[in-house]
Point group: D4
Chain length 224, copies 8
């Protein structure tokens, strides 16, 4: 590899890595945090031009950015729950990822994960509100869990759900701590620590509320 060759799109405020898909199989994704709405639109439009037949994503969008994308890029899919936008056709899905969430309040993170899985080329299904305080809800979907190619498991508070799932099935599992909770939940740090210390093996953990990162990893595993 000649590292000076890979292409870059110079947009003034950004030096867009349009070579990313060539290297890693997946195009660059726009992180909305700290960017102005116009910048988000420009970045999304540029990525789409570079990858016309492959969906591109922008995540963590503030309401103003979601609005501007909806107005400027009417062909885009805007997901208000996931606070994300997508432009271009979904890849045809290979493999299946199950996105499992402990509670109703984890919906935004689960939605971001599911969207990311789809945009990165795997099939996706969601299973919500199966927290460990009511085990029968989880045991009822045990076969579904076992049949997936990869799992994304979202939980806030004590973050115990991945440990229990990881003791039931051996499917590669990506755990996402959510920031749901209060007081000693420390903004999701307690759930994060719980997942890192899981007594069940085979669990990879991503950042708090990082449905996107989990979705990418799970899609890469599932579509192999």
């Amino acid at each position: 590899m000649d590292p000076t060759e890979p292409r870059t799109q110079d947009l003034g405020f950004a030096r867009l890595d349009v070579d990313r898909a060539a290297r890693t199989g997946d195009p660059e994704v726009v992180l909305g945090q700290g960017k102005r709405p116009e910048q988000v639109v420009t970045l999304l439009r540029t990525l789409h031009r570079e990858h016309p037949d492959r969906a591109v994503l922008a995540t963590r969008l503030a309401p103003e950015a979601l609005d501007l994308v909806a107005r400027e890029l009417p062909q885009a899919t805007v997901d208000d729950v996931a606070r994300a936008a997508m432009l271009g056709p979904l890849p045809s899905p290979r493999g299946l990822v199950l996105v499992v969430a402990a509670g109703t309040s984890d919906a935004p993170v689960a939605a971001e994960a599911a969207l990311s899985v789809a945009a990165h080329g795997a099939g996706v299904r969601r299973v919500d509100d199966v927290g460990v305080a009511g085990l029968h809800r989880l045991l009822a979907v045990r076969d579904e869990l076992a049949a997936a190619d990869a799992l994304v498991v979202v939980a806030g508070m004590e973050g115990a759900l991945p440990s229990v799932v990881g003791g039931l099935v051996g499917v590669p599992l990506v755990a996402v701590p959510s920031s749901i909770g209060y007081g000693a939940s420390l903004g999701g740090v307690s759930a994060l620590l719980g997942m890192l210390n899981s007594c069940a093996p085979g669990i990879g953990v991503v950042n708090i509320d990082n449905g996107y990162g989990a979705g990418v990893l799970a899609a890469r595993i599932a579509r192999q």
Copy 2:
């Protein structure tokens, strides 16, 4: 109450609260940490003289203190796993406490809890190694859990066991985080945070490795 009246035993190095049982129903307990072995022996002997027909305890004893107690107070029970010593007859047990531990490595904490329950007047039984990665072990003892008057649940690493137990039965539950784990377990802090953020209600948490405190609370609940 005239607070200047309650009795105190002045031992020079200690001002022993021999009125504790009159106020709270349970005699003072010696915390071994930071005390010299001779001090532990003297304190235990004095507590025993004040409460001749009720077991008194010393906890968190270093090996030298355990040895000296064994030598100087041959009638004492020395529990090497719990790192504790007891002097005097057990009260007759009222109610039943189940001490549940997630793993084999939690044995010292579970032993300290069980000894403390017994010394504080409740019946006690132990259930070991029923961590959440192998749920069937726990579900197999569900009826035993439901039949207890109080539960002590010990777990290290992610500390998820109390959440799962608390979703199965409504028995008052005292959770003890243990320091088993490494790295991001932060000496038991992760298990502690997990228990404090449990999505199952009705769980009171004590300090890391504090089998003693858990035992006292559970005994007080069970013997009511």
Copy 3:
């Protein structure tokens, strides 16, 4: 137990655990955080339908949720101080829980605890503003403390009240750190640490500001 049998109410956005009361003696409670007001109303209504003769609760409600509940469920009790709502008749009380608060500013947490005690079937009385800097206020109610079946003790800042209460009486004690304080109070973490390290035994600690969890545990102890 056949864990696939317990009943679940599928509400689309939630998989409501309507089997909880059968397992633990107490119905599921709605955690308002992260839920839309309509979801709170639907969940409360569904829980009420499942447990028509037993009060059900929703806690940590934002003002909009409190308002919508008041409008949509006029028969509900809406407690603005506790930021909670209750639907259905209170169980007849068994036993007595005393909810003790260190300062005036701890009122919201004490109110949530008291409501939860009542909804979970125990009698409840409150003792407010008896912080340790004016001991005589606490010593004046010593007999009331001793006569209760369980205590909930709420305190912010250094969280010392449970240690002092726990040295006066042997009643099972549930400690709730509140987030009252500033600077090094770290949002309630200092009070939490103080309570976990109490030199008085027999104290179970719940999450910061978690009046609900404390109320459930205390009610379970008191109603035995």
Copy 4:
């Protein structure tokens, strides 16, 4: 599934989950921390008896445990660098995992990961000492990285290696923070935080020094 049916081996001090392989595809592994050497030997022997044609592992073994295993179970493989022992024949490998380490000092963690990969049924190769301060070492193995089915990437100090690898290839990546470093490395917490905040997606993180957990996840991905 009838959760009361799965088998358990009651060893007195342990309730061994011998059903784990049936549920997850991989047998239980012995965590050496907090266990006595004899307990380790008994557990390993029991696991081997249950899975005679499949390697079983014990990890985080103190020198005394490594010695006793070597003496009592002479047919076991004892890996002094990985501080682990293995008993029984390796499964025939499916897929390939590359274990990449930033520095020479990360060898124990990389060794534990590699052993765990092999014991869990995938092929494994190691690439050592390719930290980001000398990028050419990493760029020289770019094709090897891209050809693997899964990557385990170990790094201490600032833990930047997974970010750089994750920008070069799209292979599923399991990141392991190591405790190598001092001062503000906080025993590996800085590397852990670095990996969780990686600007490259598709990275699952495990606990500090947890080569075992990383190996299991990578093997499960690779052998699919």
Copy 5:
């Protein structure tokens, strides 16, 4: 030196250190945080009067302070991205500082750094959006990096960019962690820790988002 002699401007609310330039070569700079807009204007005006032929700065200005400065001191340069204001002519530049930023969202910090470099007498150029997940963007500017007299390197999230730059060139490097990120980025602490633990030597780190401090140090190095 007679330390009682250095001059001070007493402004009532402030005891302005107008001797700073005599001692350190650079005049005092106004920190806007916690000051009222009028105070900022008065301080800037006073500093300008003391150093009429040398630019003086005010940083971390709230929008109201930026506005008032623009109105009251029309000859001032107001930089909305850097949230800073400058009054008086720039010193003629000696040496060259390159301000390198990992992402588009780090622009405010990079702008503050660049302005500070210029105001403190060195030449400055910016290189934006060269994060480590797309190495070719950085490798493409390697010669520019090597030709500078000092580097300021800004990065959020895992803060890995200084390690990679520090492995490519031996130019004195000042690293600035930015607060871009979420969850386990802990408001920039993760990037800070990453930079402090860099495996490349020769890196001095400043406070999170402290473009000003980095700019001063880099200018002092470059203008030598």
Copy 6:
């Protein structure tokens, strides 16, 4: 002392400790945080009635509480910078406290301290903006420092001022960390840690931004 005798004012929402002055020499002070404006007014009025010839204080008042006090208690002194209110005549001052602040931005904390000193019976003078980066400002007031009976020293950011003052004079010194700073100042925790670790002895530290507590301690020392 008969602890059940000391008087208490029962206000319904508060159990006001009107015996405080009899025990400690100083009346209770109202902490405004978490109290409704009407409650603040009632408490201040009640304290004033109990101590008609001695100023009483309310601190940490929100703007609405400051306003209501000004309207309902026109004879009260309302200090907008200190966010506090005082009712009743100041005690005649004994001794002198110097309140020293590192920067202009520490004014609110210094003002709260100065008001508290005066209300607790000592004389007070302020010295502002003498931070350690311009030592001559501090050395110029060395004699004033040495002549005081007690010092309150307020500083944010690195909190180094008490160490330097404590090396210059042996006057009892109360250090107050302020929350001025950003990023790694961690809301004042860095200044707090700096002061606790001072290499100069004879320094007592209070909570972050706690001008009130520092003022009380300094007044008690000075008026002896």
Copy 7:
């Protein structure tokens, strides 16, 4: 003051501040941590030569340093509990400091404080083992507390003792958190936080286990 004039003793490895007593009233004290035993002896000897009629101190001495001091400076007082050594005659005491300790295990810290008080010119008395779980022990000495000129209050675990003492008497109070405790006591940090957040005012806090610093401050207050 001419700051270049104050005298310094150049010992090669140290630049001893022999001017300290002239500035602050108290000579420099040797911190044993990180110094070789011979260095401790040389420093103590030099300080003694400079202040022949005033006791000088060395604190935090390792056993080897205590031994070497005893051998080389036979006229020194070596306090094994306080881990400190003193050389030269005690100043005649002015005022009285009471050193109050919560438990027997706090003895080393209380001893260091008492020795420091005496060496810094105040009278001293100790009151041990009066922790808040047995209030009557403290209430019994209330008059003694009130009669002192300053208090040093040592406590580990939750560190509640200063709050209770501070509510009983208005004597200036220096609080010392001790490292006694385990788990969530975090090496004394919990006690420290408790003391900083005390609901009783007039409390100055020193570093964990810093009996020396507390003693100096209390002596300075008491001897005024």
Copy 8:
């Protein structure tokens, strides 16, 4: 640059970056932590062979490694205080670095810094024991500070020395927090935070006890 070309020495256990000097001007340095003594010797010997006329370093060596280096490489300089070893002739010094230390106990860090400066081609002088509690010691060397080309300033405990130095002179300053202190010094974290929050600008901070990193940066600045 063709990044696949730079040379690497494959030693089996290490992939030594022998191209480092070509890229950055300074050869790789051996970090002793986590390496076996023989590995240290081999690495040092290899580096020396690659750079025969330029000193190479190994740092953070355990006593056994220091011994083995002394025995195997008798021509090496072994610095027991700095815990480091150096092989080969020093470069001829350009510019001057002053290494300033707050206390005697910071000697090991100051020694490591001084050795690293010399090995990286700058002249070096040390100024020890000039902590801020005795300012005259520092003011006495003010001219020496101002004359240096770069400063390394080492301090433990509250880490205030860089702030004071940075207010006296405008020389580029590298601050090194040391781990000297106890309790709330948190192993050097308090000093680190103090330095990052310095109110004097132009200060770059390195990891706790990282004399090596500070020395490299200072040498690079000074030798320009």
